[in-house]
């Protein structure tokens, strides 16, 4: 079909973006490279947060804690158990998913507002543990993250770490997209749009609400592992409640339940503060203004805008 050629993120453009991502490190300085690493990590966080909130219509303020659990657990596995990073990363995803299960369980009994409260409490509890379990987490001093290595090769510079982050991000982005386009994605949207109809189509609401929490936590845990190696030292403060506002900003500005929108807004939201380094006060104001503008004028976010301009297609929940 011809019309499809107009769409942003068609196959050709995807390849172009990939080529760009592979060649970019050549021209970036060390600091810019670090920022690019963060952009990719935020793309994973943004997508997994949108998976839960935007696609499945559930709530969570506990995602910073999930990120922290991923970061600490992967680092501790490498430090104390001698597990290599490439193995510790998926395991830390699974560990975080188990915590997702713990949070998903109350989601069945309580409605969104109270669930929000429970997740806030959970987040605070986890940060408290990070802070006070000195013997393991080194408390407020922070935990130094060992550089990952495969065989004899150590990934020590930001550019080398970028290789790991890029590969993992590609996996996360593609697998989230594939899951959304399967029966799982359809079940999540079904639960969001009409619980009652979903339940009469053999969809077990309880199972899928828990599952989406676990899935979202899994990816954030992975992002946490990457976050650890890219910042080099993890401190409890980084996983307090304030980052959750950024996560919400990402999915609102990108568009709730939007894939391309989330990727674009993750990039924008991560880069924005970097462009405003000189004006810290302005940063916060601009951030707030941006959020309000989007909520009032573009409730569907970048996604809605691109859709109107015919740059992207409707979200798809089946294989092309």
């Amino acid at each position: 079909m011809n019309i499809r050629n107009n769409y942003l993120f068609s196959k050709g453009i995807n390849l172009l973006v990939l080529a760009l991502l592979i060649t970019l490190p050549v021209v970036l300085n060390q600091y810019q490279q670090y920022v690019l690493n963060m952009v990719l990590i935020y793309i994973i966080i943004g997508l997994s947060f949108n998976l839960l909130v935007g696609y499945a219509g559930q709530f969570s303020f506990a995602h910073p804690a999930f990120l922290g659990i991923g970061a600490y657990s992967s680092c501790l596995m490498v430090l104390h158990l001698g597990i290599p990073f490439w193995l510790a990363l998926p395991i830390c995803g699974l560990i975080t998913a188990m915590f997702g299960l713990m949070i998903g369980l109350p989601a069945l009994r309580i409605s969104s507002f109270y669930l929000g409260m429970v997740t806030v409490a959970f987040n605070e509890l986890i940060v408290w543990i990070f802070l006070h379990w000195d013997s393991v987490t080194k408390g407020a001093m922070g935990l130094k993250v060992p550089k990952p290595f495969i065989g004899g090769f150590t990934f020590s510079t930001d550019k080398q770490i970028y290789c790991i982050i890029l590969a993992v991000t590609l996996f996360c982005v593609l697998s989230i997209r594939n899951i959304l386009r399967s029966k799982f994605g359809r079940a999540f949207v079904a639960i969001r749009d009409s619980e009652i109809a979903a339940s009469t189509l053999s969809i077990n609401l309880i199972k899928y609400k828990i599952f989406v929490f676990m899935l979202s936590a899994f990816y954030v845990g992975i992002a946490g592992g990457l976050y650890g190696i890219s910042v080099g030292i993890i401190i409890p403060e980084a996983f307090g409640l304030s980052p959750v506002l950024i996560y919400f900003a990402i999915i609102i500005i990108g568009g709730l339940g939007s894939f391309t929108g989330t990727i674009l807004s993750s990039i924008i939201i991560t880069l924005l503060p970097e462009f405003l380094r000189g004006f810290v006060a302005l940063q916060e104001i601009l951030f707030g203004v941006l959020l309000v503008v989007f909520i009032v004028f573009l409730p569907q976010g970048i996604h809605g805008l691109l859709l109107k301009m015919n740059f992207i297609k409707q979200e798809s929940f089946s294989q092309e």
């Binding site: 593609l174 899951i179 399967s182 029966k183 359809r186 079940a187 339940s199 009469t200 189509l201 294989q319």
Partner: protein, 254 residues
């Protein structure tokens, strides 16, 4: 074997009896009509048998199994599907994907296969998509495959909902006022679809409907509810002659 029956179903909301002592049997292969004035408890009855409400008294038996205390998804897995009076389509998905959601139970659920889009998964998924398209063709909605469900007129939404129900491969189909929102041509088309569902798919059907001509022409047997009580049961010609029904439902003839 009794295909489906309820025994003395009773349910009340805040002291008000919405249904009392409803016993109704549906035989395999029949089209059974359920009529009654507004507020007579028809939809409540549907909600009880599809396990959305738990009744205060009585039992629901489907395929010789007591399903009274099951969850809606379990009842659905046993082979009961229903439509809703107000359309309950998933607005975030297009028409075809709505129908595909109905395949939930039978779709490939290998998470790793899905994540990596293995060939096996792609093939089973493609087959599913084709099957969904066939169902859309069956309900006369194939031209709307990629349409947004929220953009469709109400009558067309009902057809999509019907297609989505059929995707669950039910043995027993409950239709809650399927003609609502349809013009006369669409209603005629729907009655043909309903006959074909019974004939080609061997599905037993229970219909709630307000359009009296529609229900009299399509049903093998009809049950009449009024104020939560069963006041008559019988063939369409018996119901037409029943004085109680004429008085209460069709209005006094004098």
């Amino acid at each position: 074997m009794v295909f489906f029956r309820t025994e003395n179903i009773g349910i009340s909301f805040g002291g008000l009896n919405a249904l009392s002592n409803i016993s109704l049997g549906v035989e395999e292969g029949e089209i059974h009509g359920l009529i009654g004035p507004n507020g007579s408890g028809k939809t409540t009855f549907f909600n009880v048998i599809s396990a959305i409400y738990a009744p205060r008294t009585g039992k629901v038996i489907f395929l010789e199994k007591d399903i009274t205390r099951l969850k809606p998804y379990e009842v659905s897995a046993l082979g009961m599907a229903r439509t809703f009076q107000k359309s309950e389509l998933f607005g975030g998905m297009n028409v075809l994907e709505n129908v595909m959601t109905g395949f939930h139970k039978n779709a490939d659920s290998n998470l790793l296969g899905i994540s990596f889009r293995t060939r096996k998964y792609r093939e089973t998924d493609k087959a599913l998509k084709e099957e969904a398209f066939e169902l859309l063709t069956f309900v006369g909605m194939k031209d709307y495959e990629t349409a947004n469900t929220t953009d469709l007129p109400f009558g067309k939404q009902r057809l999509v909902e019907l297609g989505r129900c059929l995707a669950t491969k039910p043995k027993f189909l409950l239709l809650d006022e399927p003609v609502a929102g349809m013009n006369p041509t669409e209603a005629v088309m729907l009655s043909e679809i309903i006959y074909r569902i019974r004939k080609e798919m061997k599905i037993t059907i229970l219909i709630i409907e307000h359009t009296i001509d529609f229900i009299l022409s399509i049903s093998d047997r009809i049950s009449v509810l009024n104020y939560g009580e069963m006041i008559a049961q019988g063939t369409p010609s018996e119901i037409k002659e029943n004085r109680k029904v004429i008085n209460i439902y069709l209005g006094k003839s004098e």
